[in-house]
């Protein structure tokens, strides 16, 4: 056996930093409502666009979104993808569906899971509703919603959802 060591072309220097993360006052207001099982968007005082989840500002107008807008947990699928590759640490077994969810009354969509339906059936414009975890498991997280599942309502033409300035 050779005693010669191979030249080392890398060195490891692990970094561990701890942070006290703050969501921001706008997102805090939203997450406090999510804890209660409510989805409350925020509207721009200028263009009236409704954002959920709210980031606290309107990119169209550059102002704070200071109007609270209670929303339903129903909406439609704006776009979706079927995930076939397992992601390390993710307990969900592929294939599964990630979709951009557009809640009724909102002007932006957010990412969540679609379940309770055959993958072949999923389509853009399909009507869906949140399936919540049991109330005692609710925290300050959109994970309070297990997934969205289809409901028996006619599809929506997503082109009609495009924001129109009032």
């Amino acid at each position: 056996m050779s005693t010669e060591e191979k030249p080392k072309d890398y060195s490891e220097s692990p970094i561990n930093l701890e942070y006290f993360y703050t969501a921001g006052s706008a997102t805090t207001r939203f997450l406090n409502q999510v804890k209660e099982g409510k989805l409350v968007g925020q509207a721009c005082p200028k263009c009236k666009a409704v954002y959920v989840p709210p980031r606290g500002s309107c990119p169209r107008c550059g102002v704070a979104t200071n109007i609270e807008v209670p929303l339903t947990d129903k909406g439609c699928i704006e776009s979706f993808t079927v995930v076939h590759i397992p992601i390390p640490g993710n307990p969900i077994v592929p294939p599964y569906v990630c979709a951009m969810i557009r809640l009724d009354g909102s002007n932006i969509s957010f990412l969540h899971l679609i379940q309770g339906v055959d993958i072949q059936e999923i389509r853009i414009g399909m009507r869906i509703q949140a399936v919540w975890k049991p109330k005692e498991e609710w925290t300050h997280s959109l994970e309070n919603i297990k997934w969205f599942a289809p409901i028996d309502e006619p599809d929506i033409d997503v082109a009609t959802l495009r924001f129109k300035e009032s």
């Binding site: 220097s13 942070y19 703050t22 990119p59």
Partner: protein
């Protein structure tokens, strides 16, 4: 080449802990204040550039989130520096000089309260030999302070008066975080953190944001009769290898002064990005500012928002020239350990 003028500057009150306010919520009111003061909005801005550090937020591409503070739809021309916003100002100035823009918005933001600033700042060092040792920012500054004291380039008395004067001058700065005065005995009794530095010699952990608007000289006349022009700007860097540096001088700073022809130049006012007490007498001596009113805002010792404090030095110099019958100002921004990077900005008010 086109001349560039500063036409506005605003600063968030410096906080020790902004709490639930996130970076966007710190930036937005400052930008609005600036826009409202000039009667303009984002549509009047040709180029936007920000300065911040993702390590402060602890998230990759965190600076992109900062853009939520401004109007980005319809799309804007935008850039970012992973440095103090003073360097965002430099980039914006070049953009105007090249004729790509007539106006630029610059903003910087930083919250030091959520993480451990000592650990975070040690990551700016050489990743093979120095960062794995986690040298904290105070100890690195202390290395330089010790060299300067031993060589009698800076005295303990100068450090003491830098601390006392910063607190006295904080009365000129409505956004200062620290404004209580201290006396000599309080300073001398304070426990040493990293010899020879005690807590008063070090800047406070600070959260905040700042913004500035610059414009080509022609454009600046639409907003003011006496534009404050950037007459000269120069940024140079010492070696990243601390062991190969002479910490008792700064060849790169001298090179900047030669380049900008500032030797024996008479300034009316100066603001220096001196985070530690000993840096003020050191730089005043190197820059020939011994008789020039310096850090009238109190400087970083009364509020030191990371990624803003350099821009603030430029902004405070601008404010001094604008509000007083003063004509020539020098601003300084720094970055890296032991004043590794230095940027000099020579400002002049048009008569």
């Amino acid at each position: 080449m086109k001349k560039v003028a500063i036409i506005g500057y605003a600063q968030h009150p410096i906080l020790s802990n902004a709490g639930a306010l996130n970076e966007v919520e710190l930036i937005m009111p400052v930008v609005h204040h600036l826009f409202d003061g000039l009667g303009i909005d984002q549509k009047n801005i040709d180029f936007t550039c920000s300065g911040s550090c993702d390590y402060l937020q602890g998230a990759a591409f965190a600076f992109v989130e900062g853009l939520s503070a401004i109007q980005t739809n319809p799309p804007i021309k935008e850039s970012h520096v992973e440095m103090d916003a003073a360097w965002a100002m430099y980039e914006s100035m070049l953009k105007i000089q090249m004729g790509d823009a007539d106006t630029a918005l610059i903003y910087g933001f930083g919250k030091s309260s959520p993480g451990n600033l000592d650990s975070i700042m040690s990551l700016q060092m050489d990743p093979y030999y120095i960062s794995p040792l986690w040298p904290d920012r105070v100890s690195l500054a202390a290395l330089q302070a010790r060299v300067l004291l031993d060589k009698k380039i800076v005295t303990k008395e100068q450090m003491l008066s830098a601390v006392i004067e910063a607190r006295v001058n904080s009365k000129n700065n409505k956004n200062a975080l620290i404004n209580d005065l201290i006396d000599e005995s309080t300073y001398l009794e304070e426990e040493i953190i990293s010899s020879p530095l005690n807590a008063f010699d070090c800047p406070p952990i600070s959260d905040g944001s700042s913004a500035m608007i610059i414009a080509s000289e022609e454009k600046a006349y639409e907003y003011t009769d006496k534009p404050i022009l950037i007459e000269g700007i120069d940024h140079r860097i010492e070696s990243s290898n601390l062991g190969s540096r002479d910490l008792s001088s700064s060849k790169s700073l001298q090179a900047s002064m030669d380049h900008l022809q500032l030797n024996n130049f008479e300034f009316d006012v100066a603001e220096l990005h001196t985070q530690f007490s000993f840096e003020l007498p050191f730089l005043r001596s190197l820059l020939g500012l011994v008789d020039v009113p310096t850090n009238l805002s109190g400087g970083p010792l009364v509020g030191n928002v990371m990624m803003c404090a350099g821009l603030d030095a430029i902004g405070k110099t601008y404010e001094s020239l604008k509000q007083n019958d003063l004509h020539r100002g020098l601003a300084h921004a720094s970055s890296g350990p032991c004043l590794q990077h230095n940027m000099l900005v020579h400002l002049e008010k048009k008569q």
